[in-house]
Symmetry: C2
Amino acid sequence: MRVIDTVTELRAALDAERAAGRAVGLVPTMGALHEGHLSLVRRAVAECDVVCATVFVNPLQFGPHEDFDAYPRDLDTDAALAAGAGAALLFAPLTAEMFPAEPCTTVHVAGVSEGMEGASRPGHFDGVATIVTKLFAIAGPCRAYFGEKDFQQLAVVRQLVRDLSLPVDVVGCPTVRDVDGLALSSRNAYLTAEQRQSALVLHRALCAGAAAVAAGETDPATVAELMASIVAAEPEVQLDYAEAVDPRTLRRPAALDGEVRLLVAARVGTTRLIDNLGARTPGAAPNHDHHHPEQGATVPAARTDHQESH
Amino acid sequence: MRVIDTVTELRAALDAERAAGRAVGLVPTMGALHEGHLSLVRRAVAECDVVCATVFVNPLQFGPHEDFDAYPRDLDTDAALAAGAGAALLFAPLTAEMFPAEPCTTVHVAGVSEGMEGASRPGHFDGVATIVTKLFAIAGPCRAYFGEKDFQQLAVVRQLVRDLSLPVDVVGCPTVRDVDGLALSSRNAYLTAEQRQSALVLHRALCAGAAAVAAGETDPATVAELMASIVAAEPEVQLDYAEAVDPRTLRRPAALDGEVRLLVAARVGTTRLIDNLGARTPGAAPNHDHHHPEQGATVPAARTDHQESH
């Protein structure tokens, strides 16, 4: 695997691949790679001719009181993991390479960025949209892989690609979970053993919400309150939000009908965690649209929501 | 010349050109082509292997009370003119092709977009930055030609290309003027013969400002007031702003030193016109940076600021 740290080199390398007729897969990450990221790399390897993972802790998407400085960084380990999963290239630029001068340009996505993470983390999705637009501009035409773990982020990325006609196919991939249900996250590293145990309540709440939807509950507020009450019963965990929304608009509909997305965010100690799960009202046809993984994508040695729901 | 009206076709056509090793030149316009636009096409033809002009009256950059509906549209004439100037492709999409759904994404450029046009036309540069980012994403790697007539717009485009690492070389080209000094503009079509005569005061004011700078006036406020007073003497003309700024930051410096840009905006009847001119303090070395045209670029049968200043 070739590690590249300049914009010029990455552009030249991927242009050469495309010129040779090879399809490029891109896996943008902030590093601290875990099995969730590696499932994206493996999926990209299965579907593309050459895969580039990127590691860049994007300062634009952290708020002033968030964990930018503390965010885990270990490029050597990340490089070994990405190579092991089949990436041919790793783009790991310094901040000074990405931002030689203070940037003045912001990409803002209205609609799907509002509410939930957008409400809790002002400016977060502007930072995400801006860096993703920039990474796409550097990488050029490609398929880009994002985890459903950051479901609202995935919606923001899909929206900006559509609106700006970026030459990118966005592929959403299922959340990878530990065997006990905890969604993999680089921020899990902040948790003590006890906190980790408490954090399982997020997935429990989502499963209870999904079960209620499957059993016929169509009021999104009732489903949200059910999930909130389950999280509230865990003393170490401070709920931020629990929501039941339309997976396309990320808005709470008047009544749940068909595909539903359940999302929760909570603080466990000082660590903020998010999770989400798909649900379906009774009688709704299974959704085989582009939000869902294809049969070919498997993640060895880890449960995914895909495997759960089939 | 081939006229293309879909995003998919344009992308395929320009990808094929690049795959064949041909350099692409792009000339984004809102149509109503005049000698100024054609000078951009000719410059692009001289510097690139294949030139694509685009004609799209971008709704995003018009304010609610501006002239979007009245803006002149004549695709047949535009196509004939672009072909005559050497364009191989003309991209002229319908609004529904560019925006099949209400777009939610906005590209905002802080700094150079503030003040002057940014202050007078709220949202205008967001609309420009958004459509230019989208056109660049559709066109792919290219050299893109913009007129210095819209000097602040050119600065906005340069800034967003830098910040978002877009694979585009932005080329600024000198303003083309009629023999009496009036800068060519599609909006000149709105002027009566008398108003056209009154409008000459913009260029006169700029020339007086440049002469004052060349003669040693270093106070930007004094130069701005001089230009404002000349415009104010013309009864049919309502000044919007007159400014003397640093051409890189578009801010008024404490004292003029070296390269200076003079800009004016005014309403002539109901028609809003803008113009600008480069100036230089005494003893400053001529600026041969990328803001200035190269010797090879000539515009037949029309004066350009380039020719004036040499």
